[in-house]
């Protein structure tokens, strides 16, 4: 009887420990909000892949860039240099940590921070002189990944409208959370 109760105790303690540790594991998967750890984009780094899509998705709104096509070229480079120049950054067309953070600072949650909303849930919006939306770009933030939601009208092959591309060196969807 005493031995049996001891076994029950150990099983209960183990189960309780696993239940308590689950939030820690889930929280450990949260994406880095600062974007400064994103891969470098441009002639200094990646010229295709999810990070390129993220940068082009942003340039569509900030600089009326055409089109999100997963190919970083001279137009992308010129638009990014113009972006860097007006924010006092090094004007080299290279999207590194400081440039990524400047971009990130313009992106905001449409949903109350800390609450779950339907995706996409982050936006950057440019307004016209009447305060109405002139252009906007969307991003999705899940519990474990960021992704660029590509709206219709701004994409070119191989990028598909209505798709979300994860922040990654390659062209993948948003990582599913475990």
């Amino acid at each position: 009887m005493q031995k049996r109760s001891g076994h029950i105790f150990l099983v209960a303690l183990f189960t309780l420990a696993m239940v308590m540790m689950t939030p820690a594991v889930a929280n450990a998967q949260q994406p880095n909000d600062s974007w400064s750890t994103n891969g470098k984009v441009g002639y200094c780094g990646q010229t295709s892949g999810g990070y390129v899509v993220a940068a082009q998705n942003y340039l569509w709104t900030s600089d009326a860039y055409l089109y999100v096509d997963n190919a970083w070229g001279s137009n992308s480079n010129a638009k990014m240099r113009a972006f860097q120049s007006r924010f006092g950054l090094t004007v080299d067309g290279c999207v590194g940590p400081a440039t990524w953070n400047t971009i990130r600072s313009t992106v905001y949650s449409v949903c109350s921070p800390g609450y779950a909303c339907s995706l996409p849930n982050f936006r950057v919006a440019l307004l016209n002189g009447s305060g109405q939306i002139a252009r906007q770009s969307w991003y999705s933030r899940t519990n474990c990944d960021w992704g660029s939601y590509i709206q219709s009208g701004i994409n070119a092959s191989p990028i598909s409208a209505g798709s979300t591309y994860g922040f990654s060196s390659s062209l993948v969807g948003v990582v599913s959370c475990v």
Binding site: A64, N75, Y108, C111, S112
Partner: protein, 228 residues
């Protein structure tokens, strides 16, 4: 008797584990804010005339700044339903997208050449124009009023970003982020324990001078927002 002792031990161990894990994962408690030092009359800000758009929310019921910088030229409101319905390509699913936690955006247009759009196609841009900051989008002040209290967006930090806390005139403490070089997006975020707020403007170096509003004006504008 041994069973009761073991159960008690497990319960105590569980409480200890919960506390430890809670600290490790940073389970947040709702921040407390001092009460407003005095009441501020909330005056409704008229939306800019939008004859083809009927507001789907009662923006006049939201706390709004009673002071805005002199360069503010117009005000427009974007309701949660409009924001959700405005996701291009998602219109068919818009009716299923939840709006209960989506904020209301109040947009303040700004006068002045530095705040107007001067973008050109990439092939038309000159090197001198790029370096002078001639090519830039329009700038506005945006206030997002979230329907839930407590949480503040802390996602902006790291290289090139300065983070600080400021006590606003309305008595609440705000988290302020801005570019360390004086340019970039100024973000002022706070909560009044009923709603949360994010006030933003973008300061750019243009060939017509700096765009947006300065930090002092933004802090004053935020502080003029009464509590819910």
């Amino acid at each position: 008797m041994n069973i009761y002792r073991n159960v008690t031990f497990v319960a105590v161990a569980g409480l200890v584990l919960l506390g430890t894990v809670g600290c490790a994962t940073g389970i947040n408690t709702r921040p407390t804010n001092d009460a407003a030092s005095g009441s501020v009359a909330a005056t409704a800000v008229d939306a800019a005339p939008q004859s083809s758009i009927r507001l789907s929310c009662d923006a006049s019921a939201l706390p709004q700044p009673t002071w805005t910088p002199p360069i503010v030229s117009a005000v427009a409101v974007e309701c949660p339903t409009d924001i959700v319905n405005g996701v291009p390509g998602q219109e068919a699913a818009a009716s299923t997208l939840a709006t209960s936690h989506v904020g209301t955006m109040i947009a303040y247009s700004l006068s002045g050449l530095a705040n107007q759009e001067t973008l050109q196609p990439a092939e038309a841009m000159t090197e001198a124009g790029i370096l002078s900051g001639h090519y830039h989008p329009a700038t506005a002040i945006q206030l997002i009023v979230y329907p839930d209290p407590g949480a503040i967006d802390t996602g902006v930090s790291g290289p090139g970003i300065t983070v600080s806390k400021v006590r606003l005139d309305n008595g609440f403490t705000a988290l302020v982020t801005q570019g360390s070089n004086g340019y970039g997006t100024i973000r002022i975020a706070w909560t009044d324990n009923v709603r949360s707020y994010l006030l933003m403007t973008t300061v750019m170096k243009t060939d017509s001078g700096p765009s947006g509003a300065n930090l002092a004006d933004m802090v004053r504008m935020a502080g003029s927002t009464p509590a819910s």
